[in-house]
Structures are given as structure tokens and as C-alpha cells.
Amino acid sequence: MTTATETHQQKADLPPPAATVGIVGWLRENLFGSVPSTILTLLAAYILYLVVPPLVSWSIINATWTGADSNACKLADGARKDGACWIYIQAWIGGYMYGLYPYDLRWRIDIAAVLAVVMFAPLAIKRLPYKDLYGIAVILLYPVVAYFMFKGFIDFAPGAPGSTDHPWRVVQTDKWGGLALTLLIASVGIIASLPLGVLLALGRRSTMPIVSTFSVLFIELWRGVPLITVLFMSSVMLPLFLPEGVNFDKLLRALIGVTLFSAAYMAEVIRGGLQAIPKGQYEAAMALGLNYPRMMALIVLPQALRYVIPNIVNTFIGLFKDTTLVAIIGMFDLLGAIQLGNADPKWLGFSIEGYAFAAVLYFVFCYGMSRYSQHLERKLHTGHKKR
């Protein structure tokens, strides 16, 4: 009798049913899992079918990419060709970037842009010694550098030799424009409104009656009026109150308006963060013997600000897009410059291309900010995040 010891051998797993793996499985699970889901999928596919092919054929296949003037985008009888006319964008790209800034001085803005990259790039290095100090120094120093690159140094009297051709002649702020102006207003607004917002939020929560009343009044006043009204008041009403001939820089007026306006919103966002900090944190800080500024700077604010990063960036993105409102007070930001291009007699009738280009540029910047905020959230993530 032989004892056959048969070790139990598990059979190889059967492959999962064909309908649950691969593309088919993914489709079944995600797109056609249930009746409502199937209906929605088909509807979405139909909408894509309606939108995408015409868009692709307008913007790429039938578009005019080369040519000297607007006739390249027209048929012999003056009718428009079907596709987009991208040569209009090529012809006006300089105008979009720099607005009415003197043509021969545009390199100064290019240098300012290059300097921005060079000066801020080291902040991306993880273990830079004295990184905080360097960051503060750059944030304080760069605006000064950029201001002089934009504005220039030598103020010639009109008509004096050099007033029209000196490379460092002054360019008044009313000539600043295009994407450069949009970025300038947005970055000044962003950089200045955050600290102001922190102060206002702390002020609003303060127990000192004058400080808190002032903060509440300030915040409610600025939040209670539309930005367009603020800009309009600053450009139309203010000159009437000033003596004749006194003229306060229009850009400065707009910058102050935009900054104070977004500071009020920022204050409420930050107050939301401050309210999320448990009382124990304050008490622990006080137990350690920290005074108010140190308690706020070391314990409370770092946590509060971290909670509200998405909201802060949200406000920044809103601010970036709101800068287009300066067009109504006669300044030519990116959108204003595009409208200038649309009114160029050489390129009449191509405004759709101009606005499409604006949409793409605005999307790139806003999406960039949004990605950066997600990066910050991951970097500073302290266990509050769900996923």
C-alpha cells in the first residue's frame, strides 16, 4: 500500500471575466455602470460631438496661419473664410503684451520679466540657506527694480533732445499696458492684500473696540460696493474734488482701489481660518508665556493660513480676473489691449480670435495659480487633509 502523499496544489486563478477587465471593464464600471450613468455618458458624448469637431476645424484645420495682412483671411469678394485668422494674433501679439508702451523700449519690460524669473527662482530650491530672509528681501526689492525698469530714470522735458529716443527715458504710467499691466496690477494686489487682510482679520477679532469697529467698518464698506464702482469713483469723481490741474496717477488710484478691495475679501477668508483654530491652541501658547504678536506669528497664523490656502488662492484668481475692469477707466490691460487690436482698421472683424486668445491666456495663468495652490497644500499638509 503505498501512501501517496499528494500535496494540495492550488490551481491557477481563472482570469477575471472578460467584461470586467481592460478597456471594456473600465467602460462598464465607469461609464455604463447603470442606466442613469449610461444616459449621461451618451449625452456627454453627443455634446462633445457637437462641440469638438467644429472647434477643431475652426481653430486648426481651416485656420489661416500664414499671410501678410487681413486679405489672407478673406475670400476674393471680401467675405470671411471659415476658419480662424491667427495671423491677426501674430500681428498684434506685441500690442497684447505691452499695450501702448513705446515700441523701442519694450526690451525694458522683457528685462523686468527675466529678472523676476532669476530673482524668484532660488526660492524653488528646497534647502536654500536663509530662505525666509531671501524671500522677504526679494519680495521687497523686486517691485522697486520692476518699477524702475518700467518707468525709466531720466525725465526729459517734452521736445528736449532725448525725449523720444533715450533708452532710459521716463515712460509715464498711462502708457503701461497689455499683459505686463495685468500682471503688475494682479501681483501688486496679491502681494499687498495678503498682509493687509491678515491685519484686518486680526483687527476684526480684536477685543479693542476702536480697532475692531474700524476693521468691521472697513471690511463691510469695501465688500459692500462693487469693484467697478470703486474704480469708477476713483477715475471720474476724484478729479472733480481735486484742484484743477492736480492729477493723481491713474494707475496708482487703480492699484489702491484693487488692493483695498481684495484686502477686505482676504480678511474674511483669513478670519474663517482663525475661527477654525481650537481655543486650546491659544491657551497653550499663552501658557508658554508667548505675548500676542508671537502667539499669532508662531502658533495661530501658520495653522490658520494653512487651512485656508484654497480660499486664499480662490481670492487671488478672482483678483487676477477682476483686473480686466481697469479697462473701463481708460487703461489698457490685456483685455483692453485686445480691444484696441479689434478696433485696428487693418484688422476689422477678427474680434473672436482676439477674445479666444485672451481666454487661453487667462486660463493658463489661473490654472497655473490653481496648480500652485494644490502643490502648496500637499507640501504643507499636516494631516487635516482627507485624501
Binding site: 469678394d77 471680401g78 467675405a79 470671411r80 500681428a91 498684434w92 506685441g94 500690442g95 505691452y98 499695450g99 501702448l100 508702451y101 513705446p102 515700441y103 522735458a157 517734452p158 521736445g159 528736449a160 523720444t164 498711462d174 502708457k175 499696458g177 469708477f232 477715475s235 471720474v236 469723481m237 478729479p239 472733480l240 481735486l242 484743477e244 490741474g245 492729477n247 473701463i328 477707466i329 481708460g330 489698457f332 483692453g336 480691444q339 484696441l340 487690436g341 479689434n342 478696433a343 485696428d344 482698421p345 487693418k346 476689422l348 472683424g349 474680434s351
Partner: protein
């Protein structure tokens, strides 16, 4: 008694001197500053629009350049301040700009109530119609029952209502906020007729998908006299604007243009001699150089030249002279003589 009259005479003299200083205040300020500050449209094709290099061009812009040429002998000493329709009057009242050359209709309330002086009419505009060729309409009087596209909240809408009511015609209106939206609505067939000022109509026609399918009807249903304006109270300054414009018109009438102006200086015609400052002290009367008009014509051109260059039939704006022709050619442009 004698003493009193001396005091009175002294006071009168001081008042006169002050009045005289006041009268030239704007010109003095401009000379001191070194440039004319001119309020223009933000961007109106053919009238004031910058090119891709940021240089301003247009019919209104040339008016500003002409004044700079008259004062400084240099057409480039102008600072252009783009103003919106709402801002423009505040900008002039507050002294932010020296003059407005911004497609502004001369109306009684603006002239009298707002305290401005219009220096002349450099462009006779008026509201017109554009219709689809397929309608087969030859005149605006055949538009009974038509759907009309127009801009909201402008005098255009009011004029339209008046025109149709006074001709006892029914119509439907499609009104939108911005001109480009109105035009898009018209192009997509939401209405049969498009109406706006004639200065914009031809340019708007080129923006349509198939411009040849549309015609501009001959009727003009409103008066829109456009011209440069300055503040009340400085007559010398207003005279400079007015006569800079008249000099351009007179130059066209006398056949003087930017190309032949140097030869014309030798002309025996006394009118040309006075215009170009060869004879008489007409520039001095304006507190300017006697070559003021010569400089305008040399550096900017006469009225006809700036018209042809910016808005004439060979430009995309495509406006024939029409009522803006010289009076001697059947138009309305008529300048008083320089003598």
C-alpha cells in the same frame, strides 16, 4: 476825488491784466508743460486707434497733432489720453485734458450747461441703416415691419423710434449693450436692418461674414455734428483750436497740401500768402508763430488729406466725403477766411 479815480483806474488795470493772463492760461500752461494733452476715444477705428506698435492714428488724432504743430511746430508734442464716453466730460472739466477731440456731438446742453465751447464741426455724422440685399430695399422708407438691431441706451435708439413714428411705420427692435454684439446678432439673421452712426456703418459692414450681401441705405435720420471742444472761459485757447481746424479747411479749398506747401509759399495769391504767414501777422493774433498754419499743413496735412488718409473711401472705414465735402463741392464744410 482824484485819488479815487486813480485807485479805480489801477484796479481796472489790474483786473484787465489778470483777465488777459487768464485768457491765455491754457496756452501758457501748454507751452510750459511742453505738450498738448488731448482727450481721444479709447479705440474707434479711423478716428482714434493705436496700431500694434502703440502709435495713435486717426482723424481725431490728426486734429490734436495739428494743434501741436500750430503751437510747437512739431506734430508729436501731444499726449493722448484715451477717455471713455462717460469719463470724457469730467476729464475736460477737471483740467486733465486741454481739449477733447473725441467724436463728441455738439448739442446745446453740452455747449451751455456743461460749460464747454465747441470749436467747429470737423465731421458731420448722422444715423444710417444697413440692410440685407436679399430684402430688396432701396430706401429706409420701405422698412415697414422690419426688425431693427441697435445699441441700448444711446441716442441711436431714440432717433430710430422717432424716425419710424414720424413715418408711421411699425418696427420691432432688438437692442443690445455693445456694438459688436448688435452686429453679431444682425449677421446671424436675428434682424433685417442694422442701425448706427454712418461713421461706423461702413467699417461695421467689413466686419460681416459676407459684406457684399449687405447695403447701406442712403437716408440719414439724425444730426450728429462732431467736433473738438474746450472749457468755457479761455477764448484764446478756443480760437487756436477753431482756427487750426479752419486753416486745414482753407488749405484744402486753396489747393495747398502737405506736398506742395513749400512751393505755395511763393504763390502770388494773397489768401495763400496770409494762410502761410508770408503776409500779415495772423499767427501773432493767436499768440502763436506766424508759420502756425504752414506747420499744420506741412506736418499733418489739409482737411481733405487727413480725411482720405483715415476714413476715406480707400481705407477700411470707407466713407465717401458726402456732406463733409467742401461747400464749393456740394458739401457743408465751410471755413471763414483768414484776413
Amino acid at each position: 476825488m482824484k485819488k479815487l479815480s486813480v485807485i479805480a483806474a489801477g484796479a481796472a488795470l489790474i483786473a484787465f491784466a489778470a483777465g488777459d493772463a487768464q485768457a491765455q492760461a491754457t496756452l501758457d500752461a501748454i507751452k510750459k508743460r511742453g505738450q498738448v494733452i488731448c482727450g481721444v476715444s479709447q479705440s474707434l477705428p479711423g478716428f482714434a486707434n493705436p496700431d500694434a506698435q502703440g502709435n495713435w492714428a486717426g482723424f481725431d488724432v490728426d486734429m490734436c497733432r495739428a494743434i501741436s504743430a500750430a503751437i510747437f511746430g512739431d506734430a508729436k508734442r501731444v499726449k493722448f489720453v484715451p477717455t471713455t464716453a462717460k469719463e470724457r466730460f469730467t476729464a475736460l472739466q477737471s483740467g486733465e485734458v486741454d481739449l477733447l477731440a473725441r467724436n463728441t456731438t455738439w448739442t446745446m446742453s453740452r455747449d451751455v450747461q456743461l460749460g464747454f465751447d465747441f470749436a467747429g464741426i470737423n465731421f458731420y455724422d448722422g444715423q444710417g441703416f444697413m440692410a440685407k440685399k436679399s430684402l430688396g430695399v432701396k430706401s429706409a422708407l420701405e422698412l415697414k415691419g422690419a426688425t431693427v438691431c441697435t445699441q441700448t441706451g444711446t441716442t441711436t435708439e431714440q432717433n430710430l423710434a422717432d424716425f419710424f413714428r414720424s413715418n408711421k411705420m411699425e418696427y420691432k427692435v432688438v437692442a443690445m449693450e455693445k456694438n459688436d454684439e448688435v452686429l453679431a446678432a444682425y449677421d446671424s439673421g436675428r434682424c433685417d436692418v442694422f442701425t448706427t452712426d454712418r461713421s461706423g456703418l461702413a467699417a461695421d459692414r467689413t466686419k460681416l461674414k459676407v459684406p457684399n450681401d449687405h447695403v447701406i441705405l442712403p437716408e440719414v435720420i439724425s444730426k450728429e455734428p462732431l467736433g473738438p471742444l474746450s472749457r468755457h472761459g479761455d477764448n484764446n485757447w478756443n480760437d487756436i483750436i477753431r482756427w487750426s481746424f479752419f486753416a486745414m479747411l482753407n488749405a484744402e479749398e486753396l489747393g495747398v497740401d502737405s506736398k506742395n506747401v513749400d512751393e505755395m509759399k511763393k504763390s502770388a495769391n494773397p489768401e495763400i500768402k496770409r494762410l502761410l504767414g508770408v503776409e500779415g501777422d495772423f499767427g501773432k493774433m493767436l499768440n502763436l508763430d506766424n508759420a502756425w498754419a504752414y506747420n499744420i499743413i506741412k506736418l499733418v496735412g489739409n482737411y481733405g488729406e487727413t480725411y482720405e488718409k483715415n476714413v476715406g473711401p480707400n481705407t477700411p472705414i470707407g466713407l465717401s466725403r458726402g456732406v463733409n465735402a467742401l461747400w464749393s463741392k456740394g458739401g457743408l464744410q465751410y471755413a471763414p477766411p483768414i484776413r
